[in-house]
């Protein structure tokens, strides 16, 4: 293009005259974004959120958040004449009497699942690559808050249609809230406007679901984006990539177009699911009544771990001085969620304390190169996964012909053993992968060429790995360890004195010790022949 078209140039000048947008654009139009498939996971959540806002707004045009009783007179024959809440009746109306209503409702539900799932895998990516480290701890905290709020947003959302299934979820929510010590009954009565179910909870959840929580989500997501923009994205180690630069594609035009395409893909995926994969067919469940339930009731997937925890728990309850502490509800409702969310929130700070590392980190770790972190992460994933699976233990029991109680009893052991086993296995895999890297760097990769040595031995020629792969491997960083050894007078260094300090020194050594240091070329003894065998004429084979 030789000349900017008049309308664009004119508008741009108009805006720059008033906003000074030029200097911002000058700095940012060619802002560089590093490329890696795993950097796209968070975008799934972002785009799902936009689709949630769009589809959700559409649904509010017809949905009536009221628990007032009406007799159903719509077009769905099986429920004609049945008494139900206005909320349920209007959801049926959206599903059957508004063109595109069912599609948008199903897309909204699928987008919600994708929103939470996107956040989860994005959080895992950030965790396993250590992208939460300084200076990104605050953005990590915003992320943890976003995930928590998304769960609350989901819970308030799927309760709204007031069908038999969502009512079961609401009932469990009430049962959990009322079990809280001291404040439980008050919280429940304030939430439901009196005794369960009352006539207020749907309209209150509606306000929370369409105004308060999305408002906070929107603000936090914006903050999340701004911080990412200002701090620049982390990048994977590779050729030319350092802690002090960003290598990748410019925002304008490449990243912008890619992001747009990715938004469209997410949108298409959700539209496809909304069309072809039925979700939450509320007309099959019937209106809510606290007297009934259907077997096999399952919450949305992100609530499954809480459901599993409730099912797993033995019947512990303490009575003292006229008060009741229902541990069989409190522990599963609060402890797993507490462990996971608090653990996520505190991890960057705990790691910083253990390693004493106060440096900025912009190069992402490969998970294998931080084996303890990766193993802790996998232990947490296993903990979550077992609870999640047990949230469907009745389905597991039915489909795999295992006794229902056996699934629970196995689960009670698995919840402790599983994470420990996962930790150990992950640790071994990390060390194994590090050894492999080390091996490739010092011995090269198999070339497929067999050579006969002068004394008759046959060897396979190894060639050095492709440069970008080698660089990727050499990007391994030492994890910092707090100095813990006593000086010559037998006095331990500052920061590791006293029992807590000693613990810190131990933890640091455990966390940071590199069992497979990359020693480059210093590992050759005994294999010199193999490497020498790579002749000048042998073209190093590219490794992909």
């Amino acid at each position: 293009m030789n000349e900017t078209p008049k309308p664009i140039a004119g508008t741009a000048s108009y805006l720059d005259d008033r906003l000074g947008a030029g200097s911002f654009l000058k700095r940012n139009l060619r802002k560089v974004f590093p490329d890696h498939w795993s950097f796209l996971l968070g975008e799934i959540a972002l785009y799902s959120f936009i689709i949630l806002l769009l589809t959700g707004t559409f649904l509010t045009f017809w949905f009536k958040p009221s628990m007032g009783h009406v007799e159903y007179q719509g077009v769905y024959e099986p429920l004609k004449g049945v008494m139900m809440s206005e909320a349920y009746a209007s959801t049926l109306h959206i599903s059957f009497e508004v063109r595109g209503g069912l599609l948008i409702r199903q897309m909204h539900h699928w987008a919600a699942l994708l929103f939470v799932a996107g956040m989860m895998v994005h959080a895992l990516r950030v965790f396993f690559t250590g992208a939460y480290r300084k200076p990104r701890e605050l953005n990590w905290l915003i992320g943890v808050l976003l995930l928590t709020l998304a769960l609350a947003e989901g819970l308030t959302g799927y309760s709204l249609p007031d069908d038999l299934l969502s009512g079961a979820g609401l009932r469990i929510t009430e049962g959990v809230a009322i079990s809280l010590p001291i404040v439980g009954t008050y919280i429940t009565f304030f939430l439901f406007g009196g005794e369960y179910p009352g006539v207020d909870v749907i309209s209150r959840f509606y306000t929370l679901h369409i105004l308060l929580i999305p408002g906070i989500l929107l603000a936090l997501i914006s903050a999340h984006m701004v911080l990412m923009w200002v701090q620049k994205h982390t990048q994977m180690p590779g050729p030319g990539r350092t802690e002090h630069n960003v290598v990748g594609a410019p925002f304008y035009p490449a990243f912008m177009a890619k992001a747009g395409a990715y938004f469209l893909f997410t949108f298409a995926c959700i539209a496809g699911l909304g069309t072809f994969a039925q979700i939450n067919p509320i007309w099959l469940f019937g209106p809510y009544t606290p007297a009934d339930i259907s077997a096999g009731s399952q919450p949305d997937f992100y609530m499954g771990f809480l459901e599993g925890a409730l099912r797993l728990m033995p019947a512990w309850e303490i009575n003292f001085l006229g008060h009741t502490l229902p541990l069989s509800v409190l522990i599963p409702a609060l402890v797993p969620m507490g462990i996971i969310m608090t653990g996520l929130a505190l991890y960057p700070f705990a790691e910083q304390w253990i390693t004493g590392d106060r440096r900025e980190h912009h190069l992402a770790d490969r998970p294998r190169n931080a084996p303890v972190r990766t193993s802790i992460g996998m232990a947490a994933v296993t903990f979550y996964g077992i609870l999640w699976l047990l949230g469907a233990n009745d389905e597991i029991s039915t489909h795999f012909h295992i006794g229902l109680y056996e699934t629970t009893i196995i689960g009670r052991f698995a919840i402790f053993l599983g994470p420990a086993i996962a930790y150990w296995i992950t640790y071994r895999i990390c060390i194994g992968l590090q050894r492999r890297d080390q091996d490739i760097l010092s011995h090269g990769v198999e070339s497929g060429v067999i050579k006969r040595l002068p004394h008759g031995e046959y060897i396979e020629v190894h060639t050095p790995p492709a440069e970008d792969i080698a660089e990727h491997m050499r990007g391994k960083k030492q994890i910092q360890i707090v100095p813990g050894d006593d000086d010559k007078d037998g006095i331990p260094p500052k920061g590791v004195r006293g029992p807590i300090g000693k613990l810190r020194a131990k933890a640091s050594k455990f966390y940071g010790t590199d069992h497979v240091p990359l020693d480059g070329d210093g590992h050759h003894d005994g294999h010199a022949d193999e490497h020498a065998a790579v002749g000048a004429g042998d073209k190093p084979r590219e490794l992909h």
Binding site: I8, S13, R99, A168, F267, N319, H323, T324
Partner: protein
């Protein structure tokens, strides 16, 4: 990019006056200077022009598909009406299918465009420490302290303290305002609507139950109080399961004189978190809550034999009226449903009260 176009004071004379209707010289963000795109820039690898031309055909085709699918979406909206299960299914498939194809084709088109027509980029940008330099920090620190002194906030102690004092009740005000969200629990959780003489009716049909008709051992009914069939608040606590046993099947956990002719009434509301314990296995006499699989032995006072529930399902004293219909003899003597802080060991208290009566 426009900096070097700004006219310096020297060449003021050479710059022509602005013609009305054109942007002022040098103020455009997107200037009019020709941009040389075909020049090799480091980190920017231009695509092969022949391949780019081929890719253009693909992109064009995809965008055209998206256009057609978009048209089809609007057409589907007009053509396919809703109003019955089948019609809705057709409308849903048509609208959703066309929307999916349109979005997918558009997305695929943009991807081909980015990958095969736009250059490959490997640009490098420097990072800078997030931290401001020491001079800036020093300046901010000084300014902060100067401002604090100027404002008098530090010096005037009483003012500072009363300001905090004033803020405290205002901070509490929003919490106070929430009080009317609901009534206080009081003793409402300890009672249900059941009272002496109230008829048991079948959930759904509202039919009263003749004890003589409910005579097959192993039979089970979901039962609600007469007059409260549609009162969800009442049902959330008062719903019962009614089970008929052979009298010899009943064990000591069940209070025999609260049964009538082998018919026992238990609260249907699970003592774990309140789901209706709706599943009953006839051969084992087990009541199972489908939510978290708490299992109760119906022959033995519905005591817990598995799962997270800590207490048995409360039993309701029942009898018959003059015409032989099942009625309640009293309310439950313990709170039904999930445990709560103020509940205490209601079972022990109830046992004691029962002991005193007899």
């Amino acid at each position: 990019m426009t900096d070097n176009e700004l006219p310096g004071p020297d060449d003021e004379a050479r710059v022509p006056r602005r013609v009305i209707g054109t942007p002022a010289q040098g103020t455009a963000v997107l200037g009019t200077r020709p941009v040389e795109t075909e020049v090799e820039t480091p980190g920017v690898t231009l695509p092969d022009p022949a391949d780019a031309r081929k890719a253009e055909r693909t992109v064009t085709l995809l965008f055209f598909v998206a256009f057609l699918a978009g048209i089809a979406f609007i057409a589907s909206y007009v053509v396919f009406q809703v109003g019955s299960l089948d019609k809705t299914a057709v409308s849903n498939a048509a609208l959703g299918g066309t929307l999916t194809v349109a979005l997918l084709a558009l997305a695929a088109g943009v991807v081909v465009w980015v990958r095969r027509i736009m250059p490959k980029y490997n640009l490098v940008q420097e990072r800078h420490d997030m931290r401001s330099d020491d001079d800036t920090r020093g300046y901010v620190d000084e300014t902060f302290r100067a401002g604090a002194s100027e404002s008098g906030f530090v010096k005037h102690k009483m003012m500072r303290r009363t300001l905090l004092l004033a803020a405290a009740p205002l901070g509490l005000a929003p919490l106070v305002l929430l009080k009317d969200l609901g009534p206080l629990p009081g003793t409402s959780l300890r009672h249900t609507v059941w009272k002496k003489g109230m008829k048991l009716v079948v959930e759904g049909t509202g039919q009263p139950i003749l004890a003589a008709d409910f005579d097959s051992p192993g039979g089970i009914l979901s039962v609600v109080p007469e007059g409260y069939e549609h009162d969800l608040n009442a049902l959330a606590k008062a719903t019962l399961i009614l089970i008929k046993f052979r009298p010899e099947d009943l064990k000591s956990g069940t209070i025999k004189n609260w049964t009538y002719d082998g018919i026992v009434a238990y609260s249907k509301i699970c003592t774990h978190v309140g789901c209706p314990a709706a599943l009953y296995e006839q051969t084992t006499h087990h009541i199972l809550c489908p939510c978290h699989q708490s299992t109760f032995d119906a022959t033995d006072g519905a005591k817990v034999i598995f799962g997270p529930a800590a207490r048995p399902l409360p039993q309701l004293p029942i009898g018959v009226d003059g015409q032989g219909y099942l009625i309640a003899q009293a309310d439950f003597d313990v709170p039904v449903g999930p445990s709560f802080w103020e509940r205490g060991d209601a079972e022990a208290e109830a046992r004691e009260a029962r002991g005193n009566q007899s």
